[in-house]
């Protein structure tokens, strides 16, 4: 598969390396030329030697998206640090370039949920953190003998 990742921060670069290891063709687009270095953390060869592509540019620039290969992308991942940027460029990937699979990272749970219902696949790290924290608190409660089931029984 050809995977295009826009936003090559901690999340984007790790996903890029992971997809590369799994044998996919990976192209990254980021405004910051320095983020190329983050891509190569832990790699023995350069990103390009391993077959990766890296383009400097913004996700809203259609020239940059096209240079990064959006025309042949099977998967588009929007993982910049801006929720709105991710949502907008994902819709551009869907509507203008008809990329079959489009995934947007959206930190705000409310926006992530609404856009998911509009047909955009969203991943919300905040929601994941909230669920994990709540679950950790419940687990701690369970060990103290006050499990949620007990609490429910008492209320009932």
């Amino acid at each position: 598969m050809f995977v295009l990742i826009v936003g090559c921060g901690r999340v984007g670069s790790s996903v890029a390396r992971g997809m590369m290891r799994e044998g996919h063709t990976v192209s990254c687009l980021d405004e910051d030329p320095e983020s190329h270095a983050r891509l190569e953390v832990g790699l023995e060869k350069s990103w390009e030697d391993l077959g990766g592509q890296f383009t400097v540019g913004a996700g809203l620039e259609t020239e940059a998206l096209e240079a990064a290969g959006i025309g042949q992308a099977d998967v588009f991942i929007a993982s910049t640090d801006g929720d709105n940027t991710n949502i907008v460029i994902s819709q551009i990937a869907q509507r203008r370039y008809q990329v079959p699979t489009v995934i947007a990272r959206v930190l705000d749970p409310l926006r992530a949920e609404w856009y998911r219902r509009q047909g955009l696949q969203t991943v919300c790290p905040t929601k994941v953190a909230i669920d994990m924290l709540q679950s950790a608190v419940r687990d701690a409660g369970g060990r103290d003998g006050a499990s949620p089931d007990d609490a429910a029984a008492e209320v009932a």
Partner: protein, 226 residues
């Protein structure tokens, strides 16, 4: 009408003031704390502090009952998102988005967000101007955002009289946004035919004035008339 204006910059603040004078109910949402405090001294309860990309901030401002949402932030993605959410989630009748970078206009179109000149129009009325024959009048010069809006009067020997807007070779980086004819403004379509006396508003990248002046002057349109 109840109007929510997002962004209390120069444009948003002036627009809000104008709308309040016209006795509309207005809430301006501003995400920069310092700017909010400045504007709040004048607009008082008509300005609200928060990031309008967050749905709860819009809901707190009463978006469910808003008749119009005008997104004027300096960030095109924010303006697109705010308008999209206003229109599609909260079913707001009318939205107006500001385009900061004219090259992003295609994305606004793609998402079905129609920018309208009327917001700009309201602000422009504050400005006094005179239109010299074939001259350009700078109505708005937003240097930070790299956007200018100019007005041109089509004199009787302009080469563009009788031409369809769709046939014009507008210089790259410029866009015809409005035609004022007989005191009434409208957004031209490709089929709009220009007439003598039309005042046209164009938005453009800085530095394109001369290209436009050439196009709208007496020789204008000769080059591309075939």
């Amino acid at each position: 009408m109840y109007i929510i204006v997002v962004g209390a910059g120069k444009v948003g603040w002036n627009l809000a003031r104008e709308l309040l004078e016209k006795e509309h109910e207005v809430t301006v949402i501003e995400s920069d704390r310092r700017r909010y405090l400045t504007v709040e001294q004048e607009l008082e309860h008509n300005v609200s502090y928060g990031d309008a990309s967050e749905l709860w901030v819009l809901e707190r401002a009463g978006i469910q009952r808003a008749d119009m949402v005008i997104a004027l932030t300096g960030d095109d993605e924010d303006n697109m998102l705010i308008c999209q959410v206003a229109k599609e989630k909260y079913l707001v009748d009318q939205i107006i988005a500001r385009v900061n970078n004219p090259r992003n206009r295609q994305h606004f179109d793609l998402l079905g967000i129609k920018p309208s000149v009327s917001a700009t129009d309201l602000i422009l009325r504050l400005l006094e101007h005179e239109v010299p024959e074939y001259g350009l009048v700078h109505l708005l010069d937003l240097q930070e955002e790299q956007l200018e809006i100019i007005e041109m009067l089509l004199g009787k020997d302009s080469g563009l009289i009788g031409r369809r807007v769709g046939d014009l070779s507008m210089p790259e980086g410029s866009l015809l946004i409005s035609v004022l004819r007989a005191g009434k403004g409208f957004v031209p379509t490709a089929d709009t035919v220009l007439q003598e006396g039309d005042e046209v508003l164009a938005v453009l990248d800085p530095g394109k004035e001369d290209d436009l002046k050439a196009l709208f002057g007496p020789e204008g349109g000769n080059g591309d008339s075939g």
